[in-house]
Amino acid sequence: MAGVNSSLTADDSVLPSHAGPFSPIARQQYAALIWLQSRIFLNGIRTMRGSFELGARILTGFLFFVIAVGPAFGLGFAAWAGVTNGSPLAVAIPLWVLCGVWQVFSALVPALAGQNPDLAHLLRFPVSFSSWILLFLIYGVCTPSTLIGLFWAIGIGIGVTVARPDLFLSTAVTLALLVFFNILLSRTILAWVERWMAQRRTREIFTGIILILALVAQSFNPAFHNYGRRVHGQAAHQGAPKIPAAVWTVQAALPPGLATAALVQPMRHQGSGTLPLVGLGLYIIAIAGLLVLRLRAESRGENLSEAPRTSSPSAHKVRRAPFLDFSGPIAAVFEKDLLYLLRSGPMLYALAAPLVMVFLFGGAMRSGSFGHLRAQYALPLALVWAFLGLTRLVTNNLGGDGQGLYLYFLSPTPLRSVILGKNALHLMLFLLEAVLITGLVIFRFGLPAPSVAGATLAWILFAVPANFAIGNLLSILMPYRMNMSRMRKEPGALGNGLLSTLTQVAVLGIAVLVYLPCAAFDHPWLATPILLALAAVSTFAYLRILANVDRLLQSKQESLLLELARTA
């Protein structure tokens, strides 16, 4: 054995593992990862499902491209106008929009969070910490929100440079720093939110902070709305809006404000813009420090368990009351999935995000032209959004069970009962969200017209069974493994996500196709019975699919276990 050890330690083919992010071993590791990704990609498209996933990726990529390019032109034009007119405010607004949308959407819209592999699996290899950070950032560049932000930054850069070609270099440096800051910030927020969501106590504190921030934002909303109207009125008289000095001073000290100063100073010959860039650099260093702090803990294999490290031996004698006082497999699955949900920060986050969005952006719906019309339809629109938070759970309802999936096939419980238990939980969650959102909408917009309320209720009766029916089919035919403790999309999620989005669009489209003609012919009440008839059809379809769930699951048993319960 001694011979073996000496042979291994003396082996020259083993590269040293303590080198930096661009050392030979690190480069070899990157090459291996690229090879791995390419093999996964090529092996993936061999199957029908993989090809579909590729098609979905191309389609969503095109959609994101469209989302990116349109506003890029707008922001570029705004920046060009700002520089041409010499208005610091007109330069600041595109930069604030860039940063705000980038951060808000990468945090709140799961579709823009990207599909990143879990880097924790690299910890068993001799990957240096600096390489690990670099990989974390590179994967961050590959998210849709970053690509959209990059396009927008390029648009702004082109706008400024067209107006003042001599500012090309300083603009490029400023925007590059701002982009880097945004990449770092979004990755840091993701890393820390994931950490906070992993444990119950921090999860509760975090939820409290989010709620308080939402309430504060909501209370500011009318104030800003009134201020906006006032500014709009002043602008009509004086030609340009004015920002209060205090707000302008505060924004000037923040990264988009510093970037504005870095662009405006050379433009107005008030300086080289170096000092604001140094300030932006300090922000980058501070955010990077926070990210390194988090990643270092992760790279050392921290344990994000829910449990305290020590507990008294007699504690198990104290038994909590069960969630629901009824027995049977359906209730068991309901209770188990509820426990899973309550312990999954990312899932709670996904459920809460539509509520927060309705809360935050509710005010915007009421203002502007056609505001009264939008307010009238706020309830159905908000309820559609409420369903979005549930989509992942409904259309991939076996994805979070992992190896527990074996138990469903081993136990004498009909698989229909398992699916029914899951559907029951999702129905309860939807009803809970619907009640909260209805309360919010009534608070913000008042009671909707009876015809709209009736049609909305009938639409829910149609949409819920339709979503569950298609969700159950997708869960069996296009499942993907979900990591309940991580805020990232998993491989295979894109195809499922695209089909579930199309389902949502179809279900909403049917309602629109029913309601609009009725409203146009002045018989909006007629939409309710038509939608109720459709509800009967969707309920029948749901029950038919449920009746065949055992047969379907048995026929797909091997592929489901392989896809969802595999250990590697």
């Binding site: 368990s305 031996p313 027995s327 497999p329 899973y340 074996y406 009909p414 048993q557």
Partner: protein, 266 residues
């Protein structure tokens, strides 16, 4: 003679052109502690998956306690307990929550489930960390929990796939005692393990599968007698490991020869 607890008739499973299990016939009598052995890739896991309903056979039949598995899968599943290779655990439940969940999935009354859960957690020494999630358990603790879940409904036939792997000696002793008690009360246990000493100590009967076919089947004495009849070691009391190696055709010497090929480890 009693009807067999487990009866396989021409059981076959093909994956494309590859035949993993090839027309197996096997009877396991009630109350037997039965060892099912084979080298890696021999068809052990495929067979146990078919026996527990995780994989459909290509052809052939399975009867458990006289019930046809294909015709009455739920009736069979009520009678059997399984510790699969993957353990089938829900990582984000506590041990107590998991056992209560399993009990209810097997249709046990809530009170009985609760009582058995506490007894099993005590017995398996898992009661000390009531708030710890299963995902944070050590591998050995997960094995113990999977075994507890497999017996919570009092199965008449128990399928165990490598139950002692990763379990410490004290826990292994407790598990063996529990399994022996189940045998004494008339249960049948079907065990696969690569630790042949444990199989030799526990099992009264053994079958060896190789390349998808049963190549040896009987009590240990019957297997020894079979090898003696074949010509060598007539007077020798062979261990199960020696029997296994002779039946499969491997040897410690061939492993040494293979090691010579790995020049950097030599």
């Amino acid at each position: 003679m009693d009807s067999p607890a487990i009866a396989l008739r021409d059981l076959t499973r093909r994956f494309g052109t590859f035949t993993a299990v090839d027309h197996i016939n096997l009877n396991v009598a009630p109350g037997q502690f039965f060892g099912f052995l084979g080298p890696n890739g021999a068809g052990k896991s495929t067979t146990i998956k078919m026996l527990t309903g995780l994989l459909a056979p290509t052809s052939g039949s399975i009867e458990i306690l006289g019930i046809d598995f294909a015709a009455h899968p739920l009736d069979v599943k009520r009678q059997i307990g399984v510790v699969p290779e993957s353990l089938a655990l829900f990582g984000r439940l506590t041990a107590s929550e998991y056992l209560r969940f399993v009990g209810r999935m097997y249709g046990l009354d809530r009170d009985i489930t609760n009582r058995r859960t506490e007894e099993l957690l005590d017995f398996m020494n898992l009661a000390n960390e009531p708030k710890k999630l299963v995902t944070d358990f050590s591998h050995g603790m997960q094995k113990k929990l999977a075994l507890a879940a497999a017996v919570i409904h009092g199965p008449k036939v128990l399928f165990l796939d490598e139950p002692f792997e990763g379990v410490d000696a004290i826990a292994a002793g407790a598990l063996k005692t529990m399994l022996q008690r189940m045998i004494d009360r008339g249960a049948t246990i079907f065990l696969t393990s690569h630790v042949l000493e444990i199989v030799e100590r526990l099992c009264s009967h053994v079958a060896i599968i190789h390349q998808g076919r049963i190549v040896a089947n009987g009590s240990l004495d019957e297997l020894r007698a079979g090898i003696a009849l074949a010509g060598d070691n007539a007077n020798e009391k062979l261990t199960l490991e020696e029997i296994f190696l002779r039946v499969i055709g491997g040897s410690a010497e061939s492993s040494q020869e293979a090691l010579q090929e790995l020049s950097w480890l030599a």
